[in-house]
Amino acid sequence: MTYGSNNIPPIELFIILVTPHPDQFIRFWCFSLTVAMSDELVLLSMWPSPFGLRVQIALAEKRVEYEYKEEDLFNKSSLLLTVNPVHKKVPVLIHNGKAICESLAIVEYIDEVWNDRSPLLPSDPCRRAEARFWADFVDKKAASKKVWRSKGEDQEEAKRELIEIFKVLEGELGDKPYFGGDNFGLVDIALVPFYSRFYTLDKFGNFSIEAECPVLVAWAKRCMKRESVFKSLPDSEKVYDFVLQVNKWFGIH
Protein backbone atom coordinates (compact mmCIF):
# COMPACT_ATOMS: atom_id res chain seq x y z
CA MET A 1 0.00 0.00 0.00
CA THR A 2 1.29 3.43 -0.74
CA TYR A 3 0.31 6.95 0.04
CA GLY A 4 1.38 10.29 -1.25
CA SER A 5 1.88 13.61 0.43
CA ASN A 6 -1.55 14.89 -0.49
CA ASN A 7 -3.46 12.08 1.22
CA ILE A 8 -5.03 11.43 4.61
CA PRO A 9 -2.21 10.74 7.10
CA PRO A 10 -1.85 7.24 8.40
CA ILE A 11 -3.68 6.14 11.49
CA GLU A 12 -1.17 4.85 13.92
CA LEU A 13 -2.03 2.29 16.49
CA PHE A 14 0.31 1.95 19.39
CA ILE A 15 0.15 -1.14 21.42
CA ILE A 16 2.34 -0.89 24.39
CA LEU A 17 2.85 -4.03 26.23
CA VAL A 18 4.32 -3.65 29.62
CA THR A 19 5.41 -6.58 31.60
CA PRO A 20 5.68 -5.35 35.16
CA HIS A 21 8.26 -7.04 37.37
CA PRO A 22 9.64 -5.22 40.41
CA ASP A 23 13.11 -6.81 40.35
CA GLN A 24 13.60 -7.07 36.75
CA PHE A 25 13.62 -4.94 33.77
CA ILE A 26 10.45 -3.39 32.81
CA ARG A 27 9.83 -4.41 29.38
CA PHE A 28 8.09 -2.22 27.13
CA TRP A 29 6.98 -3.56 23.92
CA CYS A 30 5.83 -0.93 21.64
CA PHE A 31 4.13 -1.97 18.56
CA SER A 32 3.25 0.55 16.06
CA LEU A 33 0.90 -0.63 13.48
CA THR A 34 0.62 1.82 10.71
CA VAL A 35 -2.39 1.56 8.62
CA ALA A 36 -2.28 3.78 5.63
CA MET A 37 -5.34 4.76 3.72
CA SER A 38 -4.47 3.38 0.33
CA ASP A 39 -4.59 5.48 -2.81
CA GLU A 40 -6.84 4.14 -5.50
CA LEU A 41 -4.95 4.50 -8.76
CA VAL A 42 -6.24 3.14 -12.04
CA LEU A 43 -4.57 3.62 -15.42
CA LEU A 44 -6.64 3.15 -18.57
CA SER A 45 -4.28 2.52 -21.43
CA MET A 46 -3.40 0.38 -24.42
CA TRP A 47 -0.21 -1.60 -24.43
CA PRO A 48 1.29 -0.15 -27.67
CA SER A 49 0.35 3.46 -26.91
CA PRO A 50 3.51 5.58 -26.45
CA PHE A 51 1.35 8.09 -24.54
CA GLY A 52 0.17 5.42 -22.10
CA LEU A 53 3.75 4.18 -21.75
CA ARG A 54 4.81 7.63 -20.58
CA VAL A 55 2.45 7.31 -17.62
CA GLN A 56 3.56 3.75 -16.86
CA ILE A 57 7.20 4.85 -16.82
CA ALA A 58 6.45 7.85 -14.58
CA LEU A 59 4.52 5.69 -12.11
CA ALA A 60 7.33 3.13 -12.12
CA GLU A 61 9.97 5.84 -11.54
CA LYS A 62 7.96 6.93 -8.50
CA ARG A 63 7.49 3.29 -7.42
CA VAL A 64 3.74 3.82 -7.16
CA GLU A 65 1.36 0.87 -7.30
CA TYR A 66 -1.68 1.04 -9.53
CA GLU A 67 -4.25 -1.04 -11.33
CA TYR A 68 -3.76 -1.29 -15.08
CA LYS A 69 -6.83 -1.62 -17.31
CA GLU A 70 -6.28 -2.52 -20.94
CA GLU A 71 -8.55 -0.72 -23.40
CA ASP A 72 -9.63 -2.11 -26.73
CA LEU A 73 -9.03 0.46 -29.50
CA PHE A 74 -12.06 -0.79 -31.41
CA ASN A 75 -14.35 -1.26 -28.43
CA LYS A 76 -13.72 1.44 -25.85
CA SER A 77 -15.07 0.78 -22.36
CA SER A 78 -17.91 2.81 -20.91
CA LEU A 79 -15.49 3.79 -18.14
CA LEU A 80 -13.11 5.39 -20.64
CA LEU A 81 -15.93 7.20 -22.40
CA THR A 82 -17.16 8.50 -19.03
CA VAL A 83 -13.80 9.68 -17.71
CA ASN A 84 -12.56 11.19 -20.97
CA PRO A 85 -15.72 12.29 -22.78
CA VAL A 86 -13.91 15.07 -24.67
CA HIS A 87 -11.19 13.06 -26.43
CA LYS A 88 -12.27 9.46 -25.64
CA LYS A 89 -8.60 8.48 -25.64
CA VAL A 90 -6.07 6.74 -23.47
CA PRO A 91 -4.22 7.26 -21.26
CA VAL A 92 -6.43 8.33 -18.38
CA LEU A 93 -5.22 8.17 -14.79
CA ILE A 94 -7.98 7.86 -12.24
CA HIS A 95 -6.73 8.87 -8.79
CA ASN A 96 -9.23 8.35 -5.97
CA GLY A 97 -12.06 8.69 -8.47
CA LYS A 98 -10.71 11.81 -10.21
CA ALA A 99 -9.69 11.52 -13.85
CA ILE A 100 -6.60 13.15 -15.30
CA CYS A 101 -6.19 13.11 -19.08
CA GLU A 102 -3.42 13.91 -21.58
CA SER A 103 -0.16 12.06 -21.01
CA LEU A 104 2.15 15.02 -20.27
CA ALA A 105 -0.40 16.58 -17.88
CA ILE A 106 -0.62 13.18 -16.15
CA VAL A 107 3.17 12.90 -15.85
CA GLU A 108 3.37 16.40 -14.31
CA TYR A 109 0.52 15.51 -11.95
CA ILE A 110 2.34 12.36 -10.84
CA ASP A 111 5.50 14.40 -10.30
CA GLU A 112 3.61 16.91 -8.13
CA VAL A 113 1.67 14.43 -6.03
CA TRP A 114 4.61 12.07 -5.37
CA ASN A 115 7.06 14.90 -4.94
CA ASP A 116 9.15 13.20 -2.28
CA ARG A 117 11.09 11.00 -4.72
CA SER A 118 12.63 10.84 -8.23
CA PRO A 119 11.79 14.34 -9.48
CA LEU A 120 10.83 14.28 -13.15
CA LEU A 121 11.05 18.03 -13.69
CA PRO A 122 13.80 20.44 -12.64
CA SER A 123 12.99 22.90 -9.87
CA ASP A 124 14.30 25.98 -11.71
CA PRO A 125 11.51 27.70 -13.74
CA CYS A 126 13.75 28.33 -16.77
CA ARG A 127 14.83 24.71 -16.97
CA ARG A 128 11.26 23.59 -16.40
CA ALA A 129 10.14 25.72 -19.35
CA GLU A 130 12.91 24.16 -21.48
CA ALA A 131 11.83 20.65 -20.47
CA ARG A 132 8.20 21.46 -21.29
CA PHE A 133 9.25 22.95 -24.65
CA TRP A 134 11.05 19.75 -25.70
CA ALA A 135 8.32 17.47 -24.37
CA ASP A 136 5.84 19.51 -26.41
CA PHE A 137 8.16 19.25 -29.44
CA VAL A 138 8.18 15.46 -29.10
CA ASP A 139 4.39 15.51 -28.76
CA LYS A 140 3.89 17.53 -31.92
CA LYS A 141 6.60 16.01 -34.09
CA ALA A 142 7.73 12.51 -33.10
CA ALA A 143 4.40 10.70 -33.13
CA SER A 144 3.88 10.55 -36.88
CA LYS A 145 2.67 7.24 -38.32
CA LYS A 146 3.24 8.35 -41.92
CA VAL A 147 6.26 6.11 -42.47
CA TRP A 148 4.13 2.99 -42.12
CA ARG A 149 0.97 4.40 -43.62
CA SER A 150 2.37 5.73 -46.89
CA LYS A 151 4.29 4.53 -49.89
CA GLY A 152 6.59 5.84 -52.60
CA GLU A 153 7.53 9.51 -52.54
CA ASP A 154 5.13 10.23 -49.62
CA GLN A 155 6.92 7.62 -47.54
CA GLU A 156 10.35 8.95 -48.53
CA GLU A 157 9.30 12.43 -47.44
CA ALA A 158 7.92 11.07 -44.16
CA LYS A 159 11.24 9.29 -43.51
CA ARG A 160 13.23 12.45 -44.25
CA GLU A 161 11.02 14.51 -41.92
CA LEU A 162 11.32 11.99 -39.12
CA ILE A 163 15.11 11.75 -39.37
CA GLU A 164 15.31 15.56 -39.37
CA ILE A 165 13.22 15.67 -36.18
CA PHE A 166 15.37 13.00 -34.55
CA LYS A 167 18.53 14.91 -35.50
CA VAL A 168 17.14 18.07 -33.86
CA LEU A 169 16.53 15.99 -30.73
CA GLU A 170 20.07 14.59 -30.95
CA GLY A 171 21.33 18.16 -31.07
CA GLU A 172 19.39 19.00 -27.93
CA LEU A 173 20.66 15.88 -26.15
CA GLY A 174 24.29 16.60 -27.02
CA ASP A 175 26.69 14.83 -24.68
CA LYS A 176 24.22 14.53 -21.84
CA PRO A 177 23.27 11.06 -20.60
CA TYR A 178 19.62 12.09 -20.57
CA PHE A 179 17.63 15.05 -21.89
CA GLY A 180 17.22 15.96 -18.23
CA GLY A 181 21.03 16.10 -17.87
CA ASP A 182 22.16 13.63 -15.25
CA ASN A 183 18.55 12.99 -14.30
CA PHE A 184 16.04 10.98 -16.29
CA GLY A 185 13.18 13.42 -16.69
CA LEU A 186 10.10 14.66 -18.50
CA VAL A 187 11.63 14.83 -21.99
CA ASP A 188 13.16 11.36 -21.68
CA ILE A 189 9.78 10.04 -20.54
CA ALA A 190 8.01 11.85 -23.40
CA LEU A 191 10.32 10.37 -26.06
CA VAL A 192 11.55 6.94 -24.98
CA PRO A 193 8.22 5.14 -25.58
CA PHE A 194 8.69 5.83 -29.31
CA TYR A 195 11.81 3.63 -29.18
CA SER A 196 9.41 0.68 -29.19
CA ARG A 197 8.40 1.78 -32.70
CA PHE A 198 11.94 1.95 -34.14
CA TYR A 199 11.92 -1.65 -35.33
CA THR A 200 8.60 -1.01 -37.09
CA LEU A 201 9.94 2.18 -38.68
CA ASP A 202 13.08 0.36 -39.85
CA LYS A 203 11.08 -2.49 -41.39
CA PHE A 204 8.51 -0.33 -43.16
CA GLY A 205 10.95 2.39 -44.14
CA ASN A 206 13.69 0.00 -45.18
CA PHE A 207 16.31 2.03 -43.35
CA SER A 208 18.13 2.03 -40.04
CA ILE A 209 17.37 4.71 -37.49
CA GLU A 210 20.47 3.61 -35.59
CA ALA A 211 22.64 4.29 -38.65
CA GLU A 212 21.04 7.71 -39.17
CA CYS A 213 20.79 8.75 -35.50
CA PRO A 214 23.32 6.77 -33.45
CA VAL A 215 23.37 9.25 -30.56
CA LEU A 216 19.60 8.98 -30.15
CA VAL A 217 19.61 5.19 -30.25
CA ALA A 218 22.49 5.11 -27.73
CA TRP A 219 20.37 7.32 -25.46
CA ALA A 220 17.38 5.01 -25.89
CA LYS A 221 19.46 1.93 -25.01
CA ARG A 222 20.73 3.79 -21.94
CA CYS A 223 17.12 4.45 -20.90
CA MET A 224 16.28 0.79 -21.49
CA LYS A 225 18.72 -0.10 -18.68
CA ARG A 226 16.32 1.60 -16.26
CA GLU A 227 13.83 -0.79 -14.73
CA SER A 228 10.96 1.69 -15.19
CA VAL A 229 11.61 1.69 -18.94
CA PHE A 230 12.42 -1.91 -19.78
CA LYS A 231 9.55 -3.19 -17.66
CA SER A 232 7.11 -0.79 -19.35
CA LEU A 233 8.06 -0.84 -23.04
CA PRO A 234 6.49 -3.60 -25.11
CA ASP A 235 8.54 -5.91 -27.30
CA SER A 236 9.45 -4.18 -30.60
CA GLU A 237 8.41 -7.12 -32.75
CA LYS A 238 5.06 -7.31 -30.99
CA VAL A 239 4.54 -3.63 -31.87
CA TYR A 240 5.42 -4.38 -35.51
CA ASP A 241 2.85 -7.21 -35.65
CA PHE A 242 0.26 -4.89 -34.13
CA VAL A 243 0.93 -2.18 -36.72
CA LEU A 244 0.58 -4.78 -39.50
CA GLN A 245 -2.79 -5.79 -38.03
CA VAL A 246 -4.03 -2.19 -37.73
CA ASN A 247 -2.90 -1.42 -41.30
CA LYS A 248 -4.84 -4.45 -42.49
CA TRP A 249 -7.88 -3.32 -40.54
CA PHE A 250 -7.76 0.14 -42.11
CA GLY A 251 -7.03 -1.31 -45.56
CA ILE A 252 -3.61 0.30 -45.80
CA HIS A 253 -1.22 -1.56 -48.14
Binding site: I100, C101, E108, V113, C126, A129, F133, D136
Partner: protein, 219 residues
Protein backbone atom coordinates in the same frame (compact mmCIF):
# COMPACT_ATOMS: atom_id res chain seq x y z
CA UNK B 1 19.43 44.01 -10.62
CA UNK B 2 16.19 44.83 -12.44
CA UNK B 3 14.63 42.13 -14.56
CA UNK B 4 15.04 42.58 -18.28
CA UNK B 5 11.93 41.27 -19.98
CA UNK B 6 11.46 41.40 -23.75
CA UNK B 7 8.54 40.01 -25.71
CA UNK B 8 8.97 39.20 -29.42
CA UNK B 9 5.46 39.24 -30.82
CA UNK B 10 3.12 40.01 -33.72
CA UNK B 11 0.13 42.14 -32.76
CA UNK B 12 -2.80 40.01 -34.16
CA UNK B 13 -1.32 36.70 -32.88
CA UNK B 14 -3.62 35.04 -30.31
CA UNK B 15 -0.53 33.27 -28.95
CA UNK B 16 1.30 36.54 -28.41
CA UNK B 17 -1.82 38.01 -26.78
CA UNK B 18 -1.77 35.23 -24.17
CA UNK B 19 1.68 36.35 -23.04
CA UNK B 20 0.70 40.04 -23.05
CA UNK B 21 -2.30 39.27 -20.85
CA UNK B 22 -0.23 37.16 -18.43
CA UNK B 23 2.46 39.86 -18.12
CA UNK B 24 -0.22 42.50 -17.52
CA UNK B 25 -1.95 40.35 -14.90
CA UNK B 26 1.32 40.16 -13.01
CA UNK B 27 2.10 43.87 -13.48
CA UNK B 28 5.42 43.10 -15.17
CA UNK B 29 7.12 45.80 -17.20
CA UNK B 30 8.61 44.66 -20.44
CA UNK B 31 9.84 45.77 -23.83
CA UNK B 32 7.55 44.81 -26.69
CA UNK B 33 9.22 44.08 -30.03
CA UNK B 34 7.01 43.74 -33.08
CA UNK B 35 8.15 41.06 -35.51
CA UNK B 36 7.62 41.09 -39.26
CA UNK B 37 6.81 37.44 -39.91
CA UNK B 38 7.83 37.66 -43.55
CA UNK B 39 11.21 39.08 -42.50
CA UNK B 40 12.06 37.59 -39.11
CA UNK B 41 14.66 39.37 -37.04
CA UNK B 42 18.05 37.76 -36.28
CA UNK B 43 17.07 38.02 -32.61
CA UNK B 44 13.96 35.87 -33.15
CA UNK B 45 15.89 33.31 -35.19
CA UNK B 46 18.55 33.15 -32.48
CA UNK B 47 16.09 32.93 -29.58
CA UNK B 48 13.80 30.37 -31.21
CA UNK B 49 15.98 28.46 -33.68
CA UNK B 50 13.78 25.34 -33.55
CA UNK B 51 10.41 26.81 -34.42
CA UNK B 52 11.35 30.36 -35.51
CA UNK B 53 7.98 31.53 -34.19
CA UNK B 54 6.59 34.20 -31.93
CA UNK B 55 5.87 34.68 -29.12
CA UNK B 56 9.26 34.45 -27.41
CA UNK B 57 9.81 35.85 -23.95
CA UNK B 58 13.41 36.81 -23.25
CA UNK B 59 14.01 37.05 -19.52
CA UNK B 60 17.45 38.34 -18.55
CA UNK B 61 18.79 37.08 -21.86
CA UNK B 62 17.23 33.60 -21.69
CA UNK B 63 14.47 32.72 -24.14
CA UNK B 64 11.22 30.96 -23.27
CA UNK B 65 9.12 29.73 -26.21
CA UNK B 66 5.58 28.41 -26.80
CA UNK B 67 2.80 30.60 -25.44
CA UNK B 68 1.34 28.31 -22.75
CA UNK B 69 4.82 27.35 -21.57
CA UNK B 70 5.65 31.06 -21.33
CA UNK B 71 2.44 31.71 -19.34
CA UNK B 72 3.35 28.93 -16.90
CA UNK B 73 6.89 30.28 -16.62
CA UNK B 74 5.54 33.78 -15.86
CA UNK B 75 3.25 32.28 -13.21
CA UNK B 76 6.13 30.38 -11.59
CA UNK B 77 8.64 33.25 -11.59
CA UNK B 78 6.31 36.09 -10.57
CA UNK B 79 4.30 34.25 -7.98
CA UNK B 80 3.71 37.29 -5.77
CA UNK B 81 0.38 38.18 -7.37
CA UNK B 82 -2.49 36.99 -9.55
CA UNK B 83 -1.84 33.24 -9.65
CA UNK B 84 -2.83 31.91 -13.06
CA UNK B 85 -2.90 28.26 -12.01
CA UNK B 86 -4.58 26.66 -9.01
CA UNK B 87 -2.40 25.40 -6.18
CA UNK B 88 -4.05 21.97 -6.00
CA UNK B 89 -2.37 19.38 -8.26
CA UNK B 90 -5.62 17.95 -9.59
CA UNK B 91 -7.13 21.38 -10.28
CA UNK B 92 -3.92 22.32 -12.05
CA UNK B 93 -4.05 19.21 -14.27
CA UNK B 94 -7.69 20.00 -15.02
CA UNK B 95 -6.82 23.58 -16.01
CA UNK B 96 -3.94 22.38 -18.22
CA UNK B 97 -6.27 19.88 -19.91
CA UNK B 98 -8.60 22.69 -21.02
CA UNK B 99 -5.79 25.07 -21.94
CA UNK B 100 -4.34 22.27 -24.03
CA UNK B 101 -7.78 21.65 -25.61
CA UNK B 102 -7.96 25.30 -26.67
CA UNK B 103 -4.41 25.04 -28.00
CA UNK B 104 -5.06 21.91 -30.04
CA UNK B 105 -8.43 22.86 -31.49
CA UNK B 106 -9.20 26.53 -31.79
CA UNK B 107 -6.39 27.97 -33.94
CA UNK B 108 -6.48 25.33 -36.67
CA UNK B 109 -10.26 25.67 -36.95
CA UNK B 110 -9.99 29.46 -36.88
CA UNK B 111 -7.56 29.22 -39.79
CA UNK B 112 -9.98 27.01 -41.67
CA UNK B 113 -12.83 29.52 -41.23
CA UNK B 114 -10.50 32.36 -42.21
CA UNK B 115 -8.79 30.88 -45.26
CA UNK B 116 -10.75 28.03 -46.74
CA UNK B 117 -13.91 27.85 -48.78
CA UNK B 118 -16.64 25.43 -49.76
CA UNK B 119 -17.02 22.20 -47.82
CA UNK B 120 -13.80 22.62 -45.88
CA UNK B 121 -15.00 26.05 -44.74
CA UNK B 122 -18.41 24.74 -43.64
CA UNK B 123 -16.84 21.84 -41.80
CA UNK B 124 -14.41 24.19 -40.04
CA UNK B 125 -17.16 26.57 -39.04
CA UNK B 126 -19.37 23.78 -37.64
CA UNK B 127 -16.52 22.18 -35.76
CA UNK B 128 -15.44 25.54 -34.33
CA UNK B 129 -18.96 26.22 -33.04
CA UNK B 130 -18.97 22.71 -31.59
CA UNK B 131 -15.76 23.50 -29.69
CA UNK B 132 -17.17 26.80 -28.43
CA UNK B 133 -20.29 25.01 -27.16
CA UNK B 134 -18.15 22.43 -25.37
CA UNK B 135 -16.16 25.24 -23.77
CA UNK B 136 -19.43 26.90 -22.72
CA UNK B 137 -20.35 23.64 -21.01
CA UNK B 138 -17.05 23.63 -19.15
CA UNK B 139 -17.51 27.29 -18.16
CA UNK B 140 -21.03 26.64 -16.87
CA UNK B 141 -22.15 29.35 -14.45
CA UNK B 142 -18.62 30.25 -13.37
CA UNK B 143 -17.34 33.81 -13.75
CA UNK B 144 -14.17 32.58 -15.38
CA UNK B 145 -12.85 29.16 -16.41
CA UNK B 146 -10.64 29.44 -13.33
CA UNK B 147 -13.87 29.77 -11.26
CA UNK B 148 -13.66 33.05 -9.34
CA UNK B 149 -10.16 33.76 -10.56
CA UNK B 150 -9.06 34.58 -14.06
CA UNK B 151 -6.69 31.75 -14.91
CA UNK B 152 -4.73 29.93 -17.56
CA UNK B 153 -7.74 28.64 -19.51
CA UNK B 154 -9.14 32.18 -19.69
CA UNK B 155 -5.70 33.40 -20.80
CA UNK B 156 -5.50 30.65 -23.43
CA UNK B 157 -8.91 31.39 -24.91
CA UNK B 158 -9.60 35.12 -24.54
CA UNK B 159 -7.28 36.19 -27.40
CA UNK B 160 -9.63 34.46 -29.84
CA UNK B 161 -12.32 36.92 -28.73
CA UNK B 162 -10.48 39.50 -30.85
CA UNK B 163 -11.02 37.17 -33.83
CA UNK B 164 -14.80 36.84 -33.25
CA UNK B 165 -15.71 39.57 -35.75
CA UNK B 166 -13.68 37.73 -38.42
CA UNK B 167 -15.40 34.41 -37.56
CA UNK B 168 -18.80 36.06 -37.86
CA UNK B 169 -18.03 37.79 -41.15
CA UNK B 170 -16.29 34.83 -42.76
CA UNK B 171 -18.63 32.28 -41.24
CA UNK B 172 -21.77 34.32 -41.79
CA UNK B 173 -22.97 33.62 -38.29
CA UNK B 174 -23.54 35.22 -34.91
CA UNK B 175 -21.41 33.74 -32.15
CA UNK B 176 -23.51 35.57 -29.56
CA UNK B 177 -26.66 33.86 -30.86
CA UNK B 178 -25.05 30.42 -30.79
CA UNK B 179 -22.88 30.78 -27.66
CA UNK B 180 -24.27 33.62 -25.51
CA UNK B 181 -22.51 32.46 -22.33
CA UNK B 182 -19.15 32.43 -24.06
CA UNK B 183 -19.63 35.93 -25.42
CA UNK B 184 -20.77 37.12 -21.98
CA UNK B 185 -17.57 35.59 -20.55
CA UNK B 186 -15.55 37.37 -23.27
CA UNK B 187 -17.11 40.73 -22.38
CA UNK B 188 -16.46 40.08 -18.68
CA UNK B 189 -12.79 39.39 -19.43
CA UNK B 190 -12.58 42.54 -21.54
CA UNK B 191 -13.52 44.55 -18.43
CA UNK B 192 -10.15 43.58 -16.99
CA UNK B 193 -7.44 46.06 -17.86
CA UNK B 194 -4.91 43.27 -18.45
CA UNK B 195 -7.17 41.99 -21.25
CA UNK B 196 -8.51 45.19 -22.80
CA UNK B 197 -4.99 46.63 -23.05
CA UNK B 198 -3.57 43.43 -24.59
CA UNK B 199 -6.17 42.60 -27.21
CA UNK B 200 -6.36 44.55 -30.45
CA UNK B 201 -9.64 45.88 -31.81
CA UNK B 202 -11.70 43.19 -33.59
CA UNK B 203 -12.19 45.28 -36.72
CA UNK B 204 -8.46 46.00 -36.98
CA UNK B 205 -7.79 42.25 -36.73
CA UNK B 206 -10.42 41.56 -39.40
CA UNK B 207 -8.91 44.09 -41.81
CA UNK B 208 -5.43 42.61 -41.45
CA UNK B 209 -6.63 39.02 -41.75
CA UNK B 210 -8.49 39.89 -44.95
CA UNK B 211 -5.32 41.52 -46.33
CA UNK B 212 -3.28 38.45 -45.47
CA UNK B 213 -5.97 36.23 -47.00
CA UNK B 214 -5.69 38.06 -50.34
CA UNK B 215 -1.92 37.54 -50.33
CA UNK B 216 -2.30 33.90 -49.30
CA UNK B 217 -4.84 33.15 -52.04
CA UNK B 218 -2.79 35.03 -54.63
CA UNK B 219 0.04 32.54 -54.02
Amino acid sequence: MADEVILLDFWPSPFGMRVRVALAEKGIEYEYKEENLSDKSPLLLKMNPVKKQIPVLIHNGKPVCESLIIVRYIDEVWKHKSPLLPSDAYQRAHAMFWADYVDKKIYSLARQVWLSSGEEHEAGKNELMGCFKLLEGELGDKTYFGDDTFGIVDVALIPFYSWFYMFEQCGNMSIEAECPKLVAWGKRCMEKESVSKSLPDQHKVYDLLMDLKKKFLAK
